[in-house]
């Protein structure tokens, strides 16, 4: 992946010129972005993360508190999904509906979100639990939504695929592949209109690059120099289709070359590497240098959806027809969570006991949210007629009047 770094550097410079061509001079934009000083400041500490080839990056320059938070967020994402998985497998709660597990991909979401502010936007996809948790999603409301309870994020209307928290800049998971690239570009456009420093990040899979909205979102972000970032979580499969059969590109970020936007690949199994790349992209965005396309090489330990090949107490799905168990084990050997824990301990940011305590607390919290969801009330049937339009209900036409 060495050859990607030059791309980025070079393309990043192309940014302002493109922005200029689209009618927003860099100077203009920086007024929106809050002054050139800022951009400069951000630039300076970008250097930190330029160590070596960038494929694996240590904790150097990352405040202890920050790395501890990142570790905790990865634990929350991991154990919340594991907890829900166990509840599905146990089968005592009559759980139903879609559930796309992102276990294995936590470094992508936590690494990117670590570079964002609270008021930045994310537009997520069907495999977005980890994105939401990393952006501060409430585990109680998430568990309740999986249980289709009135207390869930979406009041039981949406379930896993549509969890949304506008108040945290989470424009939502989505059951359709692709719109997140338009929504993020639109949210970035809104930031430009309002003159804020906000950036908007779209998360999609390796399959999502094949539809026109991906092209449209990125192309317009390039044209208008929008503070938009596209993160392609290339986990190697689009359902059962190997990525290499769905696109003639081996490295999906190469698509950025055709738009002359910044683009690079990153080790999606190394949270600090993702953080470093995301930080550069965020700096570029806030500096008015336009969009960045990031391809994170990662893996989902479970099946596309559902729990084929999954067992209670065992992480990962095995014996699936379209991939080898050896492949799964190879990626699990790269697991980003123990990797970070080893670094935290070795750099004495935490002791192993503290790390374990943190993990135990997270597990306890998850269990608590699931128990609370069990006890929570289901929505009334009639509620389904609400929220079509603000403040009015539609008629119950299922009953002949």
């Amino acid at each position: 992946m060495r050859d990607d770094t030059p791309d980025t550097a070079q393309q990043a410079d192309a940014g302002p010129q493109d922005a200029g061509k689209s009618g927003f001079s860099r100077r203009n934009f920086l007024q929106f972005a809050g002054g050139a000083g800022l951009a400069g400041a951000l630039m300076s500490n970008a250097g930190m993360a330029r160590a070596g080839n960038g494929w694996t990056v240590g904790l150097e320059g990352v405040p202890d508190e920050k790395s501890r938070q990142m570790y905790e967020l990865m634990l929350k994402s991991r154990w919340w999904e594991e907890g829900i998985k166990e509840a599905f497998l146990a089968g005592n709660d009559g759980l139903y509906g879609a559930f796309h597990i992102s276990v294995g991909e936590e470094a992508c979401s936590v690494g990117v979100m670590a570079a964002l502010n609270e008021d930045d936007y994310i537009a997520s996809n069907h495999r977005g639990h980890s994105h939401l948790i990393a952006k501060g999603g409430d585990l109680h409301k998430m568990s309740a939504e999986i249980f289709f309870r009135e207390t869930g994020y979406n009041r039981g209307f949406g379930g896993s695929m549509h969890i949304t928290d506008v108040s945290k800049g989470i424009l939502g998971m989505n059951g359709i592949i692709g719109p997140q690239f338009l929504f993020a570009a639109g949210a970035a456009y809104s930031a430009k209109v309002r003159g804020t420093e906000q950036v908007a990040v779209a998360f999609g899979g390796d399959g999502s690059v094949n539809n026109g909205w991906y092209y449209s979102g990125l192309r317009n972000a390039a044209l208008y120099g929008l503070p938009m970032i596209a993160v392609v979580e290339n986990n190697g499969y689009q359902m059962s289709m190997p990525q290499q059969n769905t696109n003639s590109l081996q490295n999906l970020h190469d698509f950025g070359a055709g738009l002359k936007i910044a683009h690079e690949a990153v080790n999606g199994m190394d949270v600090m590497a993702v953080y470093a790349v995301a930080k550069r992209a965020v700096e570029r965005a806030r500096a008015g240098e336009g969009p960045t396309l990031i391809e994170a090489k990662t893996y989902r330990y479970y099946d596309h959806a559902g729990l084929a090949g999954a067992k209670p107490g065992v992480m990962g799905a095995f014996g699936l027809p379209y991939r080898s168990d050896a492949e799964v084990r190879a990626w699990i050997a790269e697991d980003p969570i123990p990797k970070l824990r080893r670094q935290l301990v070795a750099n004495s940011v935490m002791t192993d006991d503290e790390a374990q305590a943190m993990e135990d607390e997270v597990k306890a919290l998850v269990a608590e949210t699931i128990e609370a969801a069990r006890q929570a009330p289901s929505p009334k049937a009639e509620a389904g007629l609400e929220h079509v339009f603000a403040g009015m209900t539609v008629s119950p036409s299922q009953f002949m009047s």
Binding site: I176, G186, N220
Partner: protein
């Protein structure tokens, strides 16, 4: 108060709302928001607001205009996506699966202050196929979660646009240039025409005639001759297709016992189908009839398309038949 072309009247509404709302943004396709009023006075929103609130129109990419505007709206910034008639349908899925569903799908969390302003359609000769459509409002009215309005004159156009821009839900606004055939006084100040409110343009006792947009313009042209034929027609312009103000129509048919629906959309599953179906259930025994564009794409040759389009003479004929 003075007659104003509908495009000018609509821009008055947009200008007023954009001045009142410092962030409201408009993405649009090739018709710059510039129009000339009756006294040669010009509204030029492009010059007044400029990029980014009103960018120069940019790429041919309807999915950006609607998907991007939806993203803008999700951040709480009211947005307008303005494009020609044959274009917004390129983003149909975004309206069907996102714009219309997001509020419900998220349990009420997502507001969608988005106006999709579709412009320029009509059964005009010479364009054929994709550029002479009408009645697309029925496609959008079939989608839960989107409101659909179709003004039939410049006054309603301005008032409905104002309402649409103040609505927290997505509104598809259809502007048919033919509605300038219904010249109207249009106040300079802002005012609203409520979404979902029908307009009883003429009271009558023998027959209820209903239609929207360009069809309503033809109805207006037919009214004199219908009266001359001794038919007392009650003439109603629903103005909104969704939510459809069916009660006003049903009440009228209760009185007249007869309903004639005129539509420049197609016969099958056009607006006329919904109006007739609902009235048929609400007013048992009413006599029902419709005149619509056939279930065919619009041909280019004038001989064909003019013959296929419901116009004043055909409406007079139908009114006579239904009351015979």
């Amino acid at each position: 108060m003075v007659n104003k072309p509908s495009n000018f009247a609509i821009l008055e509404a947009v200008q007023h709302e954009m001045r009142a709302n410092p962030h409201m943004t408009m993405l649009y396709e090739y018709q710059r928001p510039v129009a000339m009023g009756p006294m040669g006075n010009v509204i030029d929103l492009y010059t007044e607001f400029g990029a980014p609130r009103i960018p120069d129109w940019g790429p041919i990419d309807e999915e950006w205009f609607i998907g991007g505007a939806a993203g803008i709206a999700m951040t709480g910034v009211p947005a307008i996506a303005h494009m020609p008639s044959m274009c917004s349908v390129r983003s149909f899925e975004l309206i069907f699966n996102q714009v219309g569903k997001l509020r419900h799908m998220t349990g009420g969390q997502v507001n969608m202050p988005l106006v999709i302003w579709q412009d320029g359609a009509g059964r005009n000769p010479g364009l054929a196929g994709q550029h002479a459509d009408a009645g697309q409002e029925a496609l959008y009215a079939a989608i839960p979660g989107v409101k659909v309005v179709v003004p039939s004159n410049p006054y309603d156009a301005k008032g409905l646009m104002t309402s649409a821009l103040r609505d927290g839900d997505p509104v598809v606004f259809f502007h048919y240039p033919a509605i300038d055939g219904n010249a109207m006084d249009v106040p300079d100040d802002d005012y609203v025409v409520n979404i979902g409110e029908a307009n009883v343009v003429q009271e009558g006792t023998d027959l209820t005639i209903v239609g929207v947009g360009p069809a309503f313009v033809e109805i207006t042209r037919a009214m004199e001759e219908i009266a001359a034929a001794g038919i007392s027609a009650e003439v109603i312009d629903p103005r909104t297709i969704k939510p459809l103000p069916i009660d006003a129509i049903a009440a009228s048919v209760e009185k007249t016992g007869k309903l004639l629906v005129i539509d420049h959309g197609h016969e099958t599953l056009g607006t006329s189908s919904e109006i007739i179906a609902r009235v048929a259930m609400l007013v048992p025994g009413a006599r029902l009839g419709r005149s619509t564009f056939p279930d065919a794409p619009p041909p280019g040759a004038r001989e064909m398309i003019s013959w296929m389009t419901p116009d004043a003479p055909k409406i007079v004929e139908a009114a006579k038949q239904l009351t015979a």
